[in-house]
């Protein structure tokens, strides 16, 4: 695959950093690709603006930063308003439709994923909204194999939370198929 830049953005505490780390870990440890993950956050532990950037490439990665993401995963209005302009014209945007109101962008595909609501409804924990939206991203883009991602989640999330994380991930894949009508 060619260099692919993915940006996750929202609030601290939504688990976007973990989603990015899972993606990078699966790409490098399980799929033998190259990946780099960077992040930016404020001094607050929770609630401040949080951003996690991942680059995946078959070739070695020289520059690790994400400037114009191919894929933008957005879970707050503030992040959307601030960062939507950076997305590649033909990029893909996944947004939590209960948290973000989008603007019209004729050339950019913007996919509504009610990740937080789905997390609460399906496993009763909004903390796994990150896995819901990651499931949708993987189902849509196939940047990595879904089974690989699941193995990575199984191996790396805190012990005792594997089941709800995996369930949320699968729910996100399902959700994408429902929303886009791809059974």
């Amino acid at each position: 695959m060619a260099r692919t830049e993915i940006r996750f953005a929202g609030f601290g505490g939504q688990g976007l950093l973990l989603a990015g780390i899972m993606l990078g870990t699966a790409a490098t440890i399980l799929d033998c690709k190259n990946a780099a993950q960077t992040q930016s956050y404020g001094t607050e532990a929770r609630g401040g603006a949080s951003q996690c950037n991942v680059v995946i490439d078959d070739e070695p990665i020289t520059y690790v930063g994400v400037v114009n993401p191919d894929i933008f995963v957005c879970m707050s209005q503030e992040a959307y308003d601030k960062l939507i302009a950076d997305v590649q014209e033909k990029g893909l945007v996944f947004y939590d439709s209960d948290l973000v109101k989008i603007k019209e962008l004729p050339k950019t595909r913007q996919i509504p994923i009610p990740a937080t609501k789905t997390a609460i409804d399906s496993v009763g924990r909004k903390i796994v909204a990150n896995m819901v939206i990651l499931g949708s991203v993987i189902e849509s883009t196939r940047i990595l194999d879904a089974d690989l991602m699941k193995k990575c989640i199984q191996d790396n999330v805190p012990k005792g939370t594997e089941e709800i994380n995996l369930k949320a991930f699968d729910k996100g894949r399902e959700l994408y198929r429902e929303i886009t009508g791809k059974a």
């Binding site: 993950q37 930016s40 020289t62 930063g65």
Partner: protein, 389 residues
């Protein structure tokens, strides 16, 4: 179907974690630190891992206590390390002079963030190049500093820091930055048998014949350092010492000590010159960068090369002592050199200018920090200086 796992001993981790693992692999078993962003992940990893390898990790009351206790551990025969970032390094410098003067092998990690002062605590900067070299009061120093640009190097070069600290009997800096420290990439930890680890060298002569400091043969390296408790007289203090370690106020003795401290680095530049050179053979223009800035710089070089512009690249890996000779050689080949760096005062570019001795025009591309330069920033500036605008 799952592909086979790419390998064992592979980890997708931060540069900071790689530094902690590098220290453990090098034999570091004493750690003292005080929490500071963006170096705290090193302390956290050490605190988690040291119980597994029999190390002692202490969160001290402050930065000063951290570095002094690391000095004490070194005298007691331990490989030891402390870590911080700019606002903490400025405090540690007091203890550093003690380490330099008493020729203590230990490692100090500086994960640079955007300064001055507390600056932007969670974001990158490159403002400590001179701090680590000249921060310790009184001059006459023998600092060595090494700078990694990625996670694998963070591991490999931390080991190198420990090795050089043993060979040269001096504190060695790992001068890294928030971007390298916080970026996650693949880390491969080789089998311990494949790693070159320099152990503490012990005296082979009886205590009565042993001189604590090789001041009669200035510039001597690979010199033993006995532990406290092995029967050798260990004299360490903040005062100028004689070869036996006793305090002295004589001008002659003081000059002997100062000469040795400086010459043990300057007499061995062959062992302390390490740079990465790319596409310099036919280069007409050059870029020099270190640490996190090396990566956008190399990307800019690739873009220029793709357009047929002959650009080469040089990166100091061991940054102190400064690689004057390779930079002079580069300056003799190219017309102009661009130096991107994350400070506005032009620290690296000033050193490059000095080393180039007027053989090439040197241009500073500064930024206060917070973000690294993007490849396009470096490329655009390069085009601007090439066109002479």
């Amino acid at each position: 179907m799952l592909k086979q796992e790419c390998s064992i001993n592979k980890y997708f981790v931060q540069g900071d974690e790689a530094i902690a693992e590098g220290a453990i692999a090098a034999g570091c078993r004493y750690f003292a630190g005080y929490p500071i962003t963006p170096a705290s992940e090193i302390s956290e990893t050490i605190a988690r891992r040291f119980p597994e390898v029999g190390g002692v990790a202490i969160q001290m009351e402050d930065e000063l206590a951290s570095i002094h206790s690391v000095g004490g551990a070194s005298v007691a025969g331990m490989k030891a390390m402390t870590v911080s970032s700019g606002p903490g390094i400025s405090l540690k410098l007091e203890g550093l002079g003690w380490g330099i003067k008493n020729e203590l092998p230990y490692v100090v990690v500086d994960v640079q963030r955007a300064g001055p002062s507390n600056g932007v605590a969670t974001r990158v900067g490159q403002g400590d190049l001179y701090t680590v070299k000249y921060g310790s009061a009184g001059g006459n120093n023998s600092i060595i500093a090494i700078s990694p640009m990625n996670v694998q190097e963070a591991f490999d070069l931390t080991i190198e820091c420990f090795n050089l600290s043993e060979i040269f009997r001096t504190p060695v800096f790992l001068l890294t930055d928030e971007t390298v420290g916080h970026t996650r990439e693949l880390l491969v930890i080789p089998d311990a048998r494949e790693l070159k680890i320099v152990p503490r060298r012990k005296p082979t002569v009886p205590p009565s014949e042993f001189l604590m400091y090789p001041l009669n043969t200035p510039g001597t390296i690979d010199y033993p350092y006995p532990n406290i408790g092995e029967g050798y007289g260990i004299c360490v203090s903040p005062y100028t010492h004689t070869a036996k370690g006793y305090a002295t106020t004589s001008e002659k003795d003081h000059d002997k000590m100062a000469t040795h401290l400086v010459r043990k680095v300057t007499d061995h530049l062959d062992r302390l010159t390490r740079v990465q050179e790319e596409m310099l053979d036919d280069a007409e223009y050059g870029i020099i960068a270190y640490g996190c800035e090396a990566r956008p710089a190399m990307e800019a070089m690739k873009k220029a090369r793709a357009e047929g512009i002959k650009v080469g690249f040089l990166r100091p890996i061991i940054i102190w002592p400064f690689p004057d000779e390779p930079i002079y050689r580069m300056a003799c080949k190219v017309k102009k050199i661009l130096v991107p760096e994350l400070n506005r005062d032009g620290q690296l570019s000033r050193e490059v200018q000095r080393a180039a001795k007027g053989q090439a025009e040197v241009y500073h591309l500064g930024s206060g920090g917070v973000e690294t330069h993007q490849p396009v920033h470096v490329y655009d500036e390069l085009m601007r200086i090439i066109k002479g605008k």
